[in-house]
Symmetry: C2
Subunit: 216 residues, 2 copies
């Protein structure tokens, strides 16, 4: 029973932390203690501090994202499915995004997702040095796309006379969630197409020595 | 002199608003009045409210971004230069990003940049309906990449034994600002390559009727 009680307390702390972040965009130990009606020291019994709480929220978020299965299916589709899950999980709590972004990731489930992305990229010819660059690109796009889901239905209001093309384009485009979802898919497809293109350089694109470039 | 005094006040309000956002991630009229040591009503003399202040900050940010010149040079390079300026301007105040994101854009200089991007996309064959989707994609990537500049030098700490590929990749990759900058360029290049690819579909990719699809 003692162990069960502690687990419940940990979850209650994370629930309150997330509710506070959703409401205010901030997390302080004093604010969290006030929200829970406990002393800060009773929170420190469960978490070493603010960083550990944010990392636990990252871990909790990751449980909603299926890591790539590495089942031999098309790697681009595996990356795409992970990206869709990542965006959806981030978008559920957009105010958490800056907090997740500003500290080093140590949450195991999240890192396991990145490990599998790294395996897919390496296995399909991305040079070792570039794997982290591509993971960064995917990260940036998922973060931005998650924020985009928090944008208003009317993103742009071109009230001036000198914006005719933008005005026409907005009139012709889908709106709201449909715009955000279609845009995400279009951009993800372009990113993966661009990546595939880099992995199959045209023959004789450079001197033979380039084939033995470091890291390949 | 009266006019000059008012302009100075407006700038002082925006300076204080931005300093408050940088420090706390928030903007409230009461907090801003307290920061300036004035009554809230004296702020309302210059701005209709919080939304107008955030929009004025967006306008001010846009003055640091050169819109595409539409000078006939390569459209991808024009888009790329605008994206680099956009990311740099956003990254100067990452705490402002969520506030900019959550309200409709009406700032003229910002919209002019989008108008020119729309002209470039339309002029190079992007269907009218897709122009806003692509603008959204570029927006998402710029927002995410600007946030990435606020990430710590050590983004991932793979302390577990079951993350060998990620660990090797992190060791081989550039770090800190260099990682973020190289990643941004790699992803931007892939996005623009992917977009170019969509604009030049392979011949006989579909029945002839597809060539007259609506919006082309």
């Amino acid at each position: 029973m003692q162990r069960r009680k502690r687990l419940l307390d940990t979850e209650a702390i994370l629930d309150a932390a997330l509710a506070g972040i959703d409401a205010t965009g901030r997390l302080t130990m004093a604010g969290l203690a006030a929200r829970l009606g406990v002393s800060a020291s009773s929170i420190y019994h469960h978490f070493s501090g603010r960083t550990a709480i944010v990392e636990a929220l990252r871990e909790r978020m990751a449980t909603a994202i299926d890591p790539p299965p590495l089942d031999g299916s098309d790697w681009g589709e595996q990356v795409g499915r992970w990206m869709r899950g990542y965006r959806r999980a981030l978008a559920a709590h957009p105010a958490l995004i800056p907090l997740l972004n500003e500290q080093t990731m140590t949450a195991g489930s999240v890192l396991l997702g990145y490990e599998r992305i790294a395996v897919l990229l390496r296995g399909n010819g991305v040079p070792l040095r570039e794997v982290v660059l591509w993971i960064s690109v995917l990260d940036c796009y998922a973060l931005g796309a998650a924020l985009d889901l928090a944008a208003p239905d009317e993103v742009w209001r071109p009230e001036r006379d000198d914006l005719p093309t933008l005005g026409d384009a907005i009139t012709a485009a889908p709106r709201g969630r449909e715009r955000a979802d279609e845009a995400f898919d279009v951009g993800l497809d372009a990113l993966l197409t661009g990546l595939r293109g880099r992995l199959t350089p045209p023959l004789a694109a450079g001197p033979p020595a380039r084939r033995a470039a470091p890291g390949r």
